[in-house]
Amino acid sequence: MSFLSEAFWVLLLGSLLGLELIGKVPPTLHTPLMSGANAISGITMLAALTLIIKAGSNIPLLVMGSISLGFALFNVVGGFLVTDRMLAMFSRKPSRK
């Protein structure tokens, strides 16, 4: 049971941390923040990875894990890059006319 009780503590503290981290967001950043948080939610790639590694020689499991990893990595890589593209536009602020 030790993992389980720990896991619930982690869940609770993680949720509180999430609530605390987003306090006041300027409207300017709603879109990039959504897109960035979206990329982080692709962290299920770790689950997919674990699945593949522990699958042994079970082919269906390997295939499902691989597809799952593909979807997650599409989310992660695409999400971070597109967020960076948006934020890069904000950062070239010094007016150059």
Binding site: G14, T28, N38, I40, A47, V77, G79, F80, D84
Partner: protein, 479 residues
């Protein structure tokens, strides 16, 4: 604890710290870009952590490597391609697509574990009941996230429109039906056996479609944000399934942060989450009886030429960009017009309403893309006191956010929504394709005011014509 356990533990701890700093930093303009990179580094670290741990404890077979590389190469390359190619105006649907794929990933992990329970893939969860609950939650939320996000993307792309019956009350009954279907299959799964699994996938998938389908317009980003929060929950549930603390904490953070962001967005639009999810559009039912509707009595329309002449004589011009501008992709043409004006010494600023564009904050991204200097973008609270000293306001495809009813008419559905006080300016030009109502479906009192003139036409076309007129008047953007 052997060495690889210690190493894995330290890496995970560092990854969580960086993720938290990343989310925190993303909510501030100055640190946002670094924060995004921090989060990306955290993800790489976390991946290394999993690999180190597995390598140290049970080794990674060649088979596993092949499938890992195959899956990540396909997903990663598609991700890179999509992120580079997509137009800035298409950002809402892109975010929805990415999000749906995250949900699909969690769904697949849970399905795989449920279908092949004999393998060692279930981590240290010895308690079978908790494991099956985690699987059920992961399948349920993952499936809703996937179908909901895909529907959201298709609607934003214009591939799907809202069927008529979806606006009626029947949809609530239909959705309750789907929810009951999902619930029944959940119970049967918890009782043991896998028979309810596919029923659960289908039931929750249909629920995701049924809930997202009736939603449109400015409410859609709120739904995407909510679905994003769900994908965090799905990730946390997947963490329980495979026994990963890191996944649980990261999923919980994204879930909670997404919820807060959803709330902030709702506040910006003066909407409650409940009304977004269950109310349909504000004007979903024909609002003929409400005080907001009614005929326009005093519309003045004018030509682009007149508009150009007035602009030429102005000293201080404020641009109010809105949804129409974003849809017409006219931000670059707008930038040329403002360059021309600035070139002849006219002061130009942009008034940005919190929900301008296709999603909150989207307008800032679009204008930044068109190279508008960041300091010319003024937020509502800053620009509102400046309108009385403004000569000309150009309203481009914005509607509800400039409706004086929100301040003056306590019976209006818009009443209380923060709006831009453009009517305080000397002259207001509204560039709009026709007299159709905005998203709220109610009349805009601004259009009836004596100092407002309508310039009818597509935003991009009108701005292009305006640029030509300004050049004929001797104003050019070379300055």
């Amino acid at each position: 604890m052997n060495l690889s356990d210690v190493l894995k533990f330290s890496i995970d701890l560092l990854a969580v710290l960086l993720l938290a700093l990343g989310i925190k930093g993303l909510s501030k303009v100055r640190s946002a870009r670094e924060a995004n990179r921090l989060a990306a580094v955290a993800m790489i670290l976390a991946t290394i952590g999993v690999l180190v741990d597995s390598y140290g404890n049970l080794g990674i077979s060649i088979d596993a490597w092949i499938w890992i590389i195959l899956g990540s190469a396909v997903g990663g390359l598609l991700g890179i391609f999509t992120a580079k190619k997509v137009a800035m105006t298409a950002m809402p649907e892109t975010v929805a697509l990415f999000n749906g794929c995250g949900g699909m990933s969690s769904l697949l992990v849970a399905l795989a574990v449920a279908l092949f329970p004999s393998t060692e893939s279930t981590g240290e969860l010895s308690n079978g009941f908790v494991e099956i609950i985690s699987i059920v939650i992961s399948v349920f939320v993952g499936s809703i996230t996937f179908t909901g996000s895909i529907v959201a993307m298709a609607k934003l792309q214009g591939w799907l429109s809202t069927p008529g019956w979806m606006q009626s009350k029947i949809r609530h009954a239909v959705n309750i039906g789907f929810a009951v279907l999902a619930l029944v299959s959940m119970v049967s799964l918890l009782m043991g056996g896998n028979s309810g699994l596919w029923l659960l996938v289908v039931g929750s998938g249909l629920l995701g479609i049924g809930v997202t389908m009736p939603i449109g317009g400015a409410d859609m980003p709120v739904v995407i944000s909510l679905l994003n929060s769900y994908s965090g929950v799905a990730a946390a549930a997947a963490g329980f399934v495979v026994g990963s603390q890191l996944l649980i904490v990261a999923g919980a953070m994204v879930g909670a942060a997404g919820l807060i962001l959803t709330q902030v967005m709702c506040n910006g639009m003066n909407r409650s989450l409940v009304s977004v999810l269950f109310g349909g559009a504000i004007g979903g039912t024909p609002s003929s009886g409400s005080s907001g509707s009614g005929e326009y009595v005093n519309i003045t329309s004018c030509s682009v030429e007149e508009c150009a002449l007035t602009l030429e004589a102005a000293e201080k011009v404020v641009i109010v960009p809105g949804y129409g501008l974003a849809v017409a992709q006219a931000q670059h043409t707008l930038r040329e017009v403002t360059r021309a004006l600035e070139g002849s010494g006219i002061q130009v600023t942009y008034a940005i309403h919190p929900v301008a564009g296709r999603m909150p904050g989207h307008m800032n991204v679009l204008l930044a893309e068109a190279d508008v200097p960041y300091e010319q973008l003024k937020e509502m609270d800053v620009i509102n006191p400046e309108f009385p000293a403004t000569d000309v306001v150009l309203v481009l495809g914005a509607n509800d956010v400039v409706n004086p009813q929100a301040k003056n008419d306590s019976s209006s559905p818009l009443y209380g929504m923060p709006v831009l006080d453009v009517q305080e300016a000397r002259t207001v030009f509204v560039i709009k394709r026709g007299m159709s109502a905005g998203y709220s479906g109610i009349k805009n009192d601004l259009f009836d005011l004596a100092n407002t003139s309508m310039v009818f036409g597509d935003a991009k076309k009108v701005l292009g014509d305006l640029l030509l007129e300004l050049k004929e008047l001797g104003i050019s953007g070379k300055g």
